[in-house]
Symmetry: C2
Subunit: 253 residues, 2 copies
């Protein structure tokens, strides 16, 4: 990073890629361009995008204006409006309001993936807000008030005007499931997804191999379906991290 | 089948199983009990549920009343309301109106999977209607008027009151993609999914093996994503037949 003054108001971008499809959560399979921001207030034990989290990669994060980001997205989409998925790291620590306003004017729609630790006013301008509270296996902490603040920020213009909200829980074990149950009961009415945690170490892999154990991931999915069925949580959706099955745990997919 | 008079008004059931999750389409990952009816007006070249289609299996199809079907579903769900997915065969040839009315009174919700060849008044009572017009590779015929009749039946009480409709296209090759494009343009505004065709021969497999080539299915998915991206069909969702990846091409999953 050079002169901070020069970067004021800019978005720290780790990567912009697509069009591909969203691989997880309620929008699974939906064509999208990903805008991945650099930097995170968390450090999950099983983080699969350390290159957008660990300050050691900071030199790779490019400060860009909203107009520059939108220009790059349009190059990828052939100028055609598409769903833009804001991911990270934690994109909620970036100044994304201008990008969302500018993009929506041109017909783009916006989804965000965040852990629910930091609320922003511009959450209300999103089309989709996916909040992924980190469970015990992530070895981070959970701040119930921060999560509530995120939901309230998104609904600040009324529930009919704000984004569609989903709570998405990565689940590695029974303690994680209990955590998901606790949190979803704090916010009755918000749709819930659970997904198996990909425990493969994060990128980059210089040899291009990712070492993902698809059999293991699939077995974890079967276990999750069994648990959800046994507990009769019939309003909880069970989804895979499908992109890992399709493309492995690589960057730019 | 014994005395037809005795079976009047009954539903021909191939299997009832669950709770599991829906493996494909817009409701992918949603917990559900499947009610699979026997009999079909089609015979797709790559049919993956011949045991619910081929009259040779007719002796396995049990005529049941709506109350009997609902009783069986409740045994599986522990009496708790759940999404009931009506599948087949083509469930639209069965008398399902009474089951839907009875189930909804007890809090159950209903989805159907049908090919859009036969419209029924009770489509308007469903919560979700997935119509899967069969593409050229199925070697069946397409009746555009019948599809329109299905959509109109579902929307007969107004678009805000009827089921959420999805057009879901199995795609094996470029001709199938062109077919999907043609049909979706007849019904602008209806959400569209495409999915790779599972070309594994249908059940039953006495040895319990299903011979599904997961690598091949996944490669077909990657091809579909590439095609959708190249053609800039950013409003078309690309989803797998995820249950085939998770449980293979077996019955009762």
């Amino acid at each position: 990073m050079s002169d901070p003054a020069e970067h004021r108001g800019k978005i720290r971008i780790s990567e912009i890629f697509g069009p591909t499809v969203q691989g997880e959560g309620a929008l699974i399979g939906v064509p999208t361009v990903f805008v991945r921001t650099g930097g995170c207030d968390f450090r999950c034990s099983w983080c699969d995008t350390l290159y957008a989290v660990d300050p050691a990669f900071r030199a790779d994060w490019k400060p860009m204006t909203a107009a520059e980001v939108l220009e790059d997205v349009k190059k990828l989409s052939g100028g055609k409006p598409i769903l833009i998925t804001l991911s990270g790291g934690n994109p909620a620590i970036q100044p994304l309001g201008a990008l969302i306003a500018m993009g929506k004017q041109e017909g783009f729609t916006f989804a965000i993936e965040t852990q629910g630790s930091i609320a922003k006013d511009w959450f209300a301008d999103l089309n989709y807000l996916t909040i992924s509270p980190k469970p015990p296996s992530a070895s981070t902490s959970f701040d119930a008030d921060a999560l509530t603040a995120c939901i309230e920020a998104a609904q600040s213009r009324g529930m009919l005007d704000g984004p569609a909200i989903t709570l998405k829980f990565p689940v590695r074990d029974e303690a994680d499931l209990m955590f998901a149950d606790y949190v979803r009961n704090l916010h009755i009415g918000i749709p819930v997804c659970v997904q198996p945690v990909n425990t493969t170490p994060a990128e980059p892999h210089p040899d291009g191999k990712d070492g993902v154990d698809i059999e293991d991931l699939t077995a974890r999915y079967r276990w999750l379906v069994d648990e959800i069925a046994k507990r009769q949580w019939f309003d909880v959706r069970v989804l895979p991290q499908w992109h890992v099955h399709v493309w492995g745990n690589l960057r730019g997919v």
